[in-house]
């Protein structure tokens, strides 16, 4: 049981130019839906003085210019938007992200399967059958944290981090999944790799998946992985985006 969202959000100051709107204190689909609903509404509202919105699992960080919009006026708008928006968040897009679960590329899949008490094939089948939501980005550019990991794949993070991830590593850890971009050390487990580039400056757009988009994985074999990776290297987008009604 995870705790539900707060009855009404908490408005927490992070200095005079940032306000964190907190809907709960756990990683939970309902709480995150509140965050993403407010994020979408506030982006739509285009309030002067609201400079940047950063959705996280359980809160929306609003960076604003207090010499343009007063905190009290911002909170008034936020209260009315929170009242209007239910927690029924509707994603704008669904991504089909190719993912290779071959242990030759998925460096930690054998280890993770052993910890979970299943075979690597069972692990990859369960992961590929999951439906995910982009909860937030963090840690490094293009590192996209996904909710919706099947409960049978929840495993604690490593006590000490593993070495740098391979490019495009798909990971699990702490009850979540994650698509990474540039190599970084991590406490999570690499259970797949995508040929897609989550962050590519030379491509337009450089970042693909918006927080709030739905994500599912399409298993590809070793050979297909390298074919798609060659296309991605030429600047092609190899994940498929479907707009949702």
């Amino acid at each position: 049981m995870t705790p539900p969202p707060y009855e009404s959000p908490r408005y927490l100051d992070a200095g005079e130019a940032a306000l964190s709107v907190e809907f709960g204190d756990s990683v939970d689909p309902e709480i995150n839906a509140c965050v993403l609903t407010l994020d979408a509404a506030l982006r739509e509202a285009k309030l002067p003085g609201v400079e940047e919105l950063v959705p996280t699992y359980r809160s929306l960080m609003i960076h604003y210019e207090p010499l343009t919009i007063l905190r009290a006026d911002l909170v008034k708008v936020l209260n009315s938007l929170v009242l209007q928006g239910a927690s029924a968040f509707t994603p704008k897009a669904r991504w089909r992200v190719p993912c290779c679960y071959d242990p030759a590329l998925a460096e930690d899949i054998i280890e993770a399967a052993r910890i979970l008490g299943m075979s690597p094939d069972q692990l990859s089948a369960l992961h590929a059958n999951g439906c995910y939501r982009a909860y937030m980005y963090g840690f490094a550019p293009g590192w996209c944290y996904l909710g919706g990991l099947p409960e049978s794949l929840a495993l604690p993070r490593r006590a000490s981090p593993r070495g740098a991830t391979p490019p495009g590593a798909v990971l699990i850890g702490g009850g979540l999944s994650l698509i990474s971009a540039n190599p970084m050390p991590t406490g999570w487990y690499v259970i797949g790799r995508t040929p897609e580039r989550m962050f590519a400056l030379e491509r337009e757009p450089p970042l693909l998946i918006e927080p709030g988009d739905d994500v599912c994985f399409e298993p590809v074999d070793h050979e297909m992985f390298f074919a798609l990776e060659a296309r991605a290297a030429r600047g092609e987008i190899v994940a498929l985006r479907e707009a949702l009604p």
Binding site: D13, E16, D25, T56, M61
Partner: protein
């Protein structure tokens, strides 16, 4: 032919910065930008264009020369030792660097960061709408990395700088509040009232282990009430987070946009410059203020910046003894015993 700024020597910590990479925090992209936003804007204003980029240098210093033409530079930051061919100049000044001359920037009596803004534009690629360098993710600036000896930065659309060096007057540079003002939160409820009291009354020492990402504070340890892990939330410039070891970190320009440790307080915008200019070993104290007080300080700073900078000719009294000696102003020697 356009002029090129050649880096002759660069200590660690020199990079190209602009006001920061804004608009991509939601994708995990670090904003970077200047450590001392006030000094950065003073240098840019003195160079005649608030929007551009500047070279940020730190205690490791920097030596520069112009190639292919003269280059105007506006310098502002901490009390650095600025010399143009051994001529000592004020730590905030504009100057013309002509080919053959050498500009040296060295750590001076105080301050940790200094900005050199060209009269013109640095010819570098715009990466996600910014020139700011974030070396950890390899973004912006010159090839996404810190500057080093041998680097060449082309200056395009040059504008003329005053023929003689002049001092920059920007009243907000070097403003140093007695205590760094903070607003408590967003996670002050993760700390006991005693821990908050300790935080606000202790004298903190800036650790050697401080960089563009975070300034580490040494002093009493702050006990957490509910553990040191929170579910990640957003992070602002100047957030003071307290990881498991209880030693606070002030998150600076190269912070990640989100983080998972409780944040006891946030340094207010008007006091970030002074904090950034502190050196390892310097002592600081915090004072809690309200949103209204923080905004009043922010408004005062914004008004001062809106009034702009003034340039002042160098007066004799400002010349250093070294400079006077070099110029050999004393035409002859008088023997006091004979008069």
């Amino acid at each position: 032919m356009s002029a090129t700024l050649r880096i002759l020597k660069a200590g660690p910590g020199a990079s190209v910065q602009d006001k920061g990479r804004l608009g991509f925090l939601r994708f995990g992209v670090t904003p970077a930008g200047p450590m001392d936003p006030g000094a950065f804007i003073a240098a840019r204003l003195a160079a005649g264009d608030a929007k551009g980029a500047a070279i940020e240098a730190s205690l490791g210093g920097l030596e520069l020369a112009a190639e292919g033409g003269e280059i105007g530079l506006a310098i502002a930051g901490g009390a650095f030792d600025i010399r143009l061919d051994e001529r000592a100049l004020p730590s905030a000044c504009v100057l013309r660097l002509v080919p053959g001359a050498r500009l040296s920037v060295r750590a001076g009596s105080a301050g940790a960061w200094v900005y050199l803004a060209p009269f013109g534009r640095l010819d570098l690629p715009f990466v996600l709408g910014s020139y700011a360098t974030h070396a950890r993710s390899g973004l912006g600036g010159l090839d996404g990395r810190m500057l080093r000896a041998g680097d060449a930065l082309k200056i395009v659309d040059p504008r003329p700088a005053p023929v003689e060096p002049m001092a920059i007057l920007a009243p907000w540079i070097g403003e140093r509040p007695a205590k760094s003002r903070v607003m408590l939160g967003p996670q002050q409820d993760y700390f006991s009232p005693e821990a908050i009291e300790t935080f606000l009354t202790a004298r903190w020492r800036l650790s050697e282990r401080s960089d563009r990402m975070a300034y580490r504070l040494e002093g009493p340890l702050l006990q957490h009430l509910k553990g040191h892990d929170i579910v990640s939330d957003g992070v602002a410039f100047g957030a003071i987070q307290t990881p498991g070891d209880g030693a606070p970190l002030v998150l600076m320009a190269d912070r990640q946009p989100t983080g998972g440790y409780p944040k006891i307080a946030n340094v207010i915008g008007a006091d970030l410059s002074a904090l950034a200019q502190m050196r390892a070993g310097d002592l600081l104290e915090f004072a809690s203020v309200s949103w209204e007080q923080a905004v009043a300080a922010r408004r005062a700073r914004a008004r001062a910046i809106a009034a702009g900078v003034a340039l002042e000719p160098l007066l004799r009294k400002e010349f250093s003894p070294e400079f006077l000696l070099e110029r050999n102003l004393v035409g002859g020697v008088i023997d006091g015993r004979k008069t």
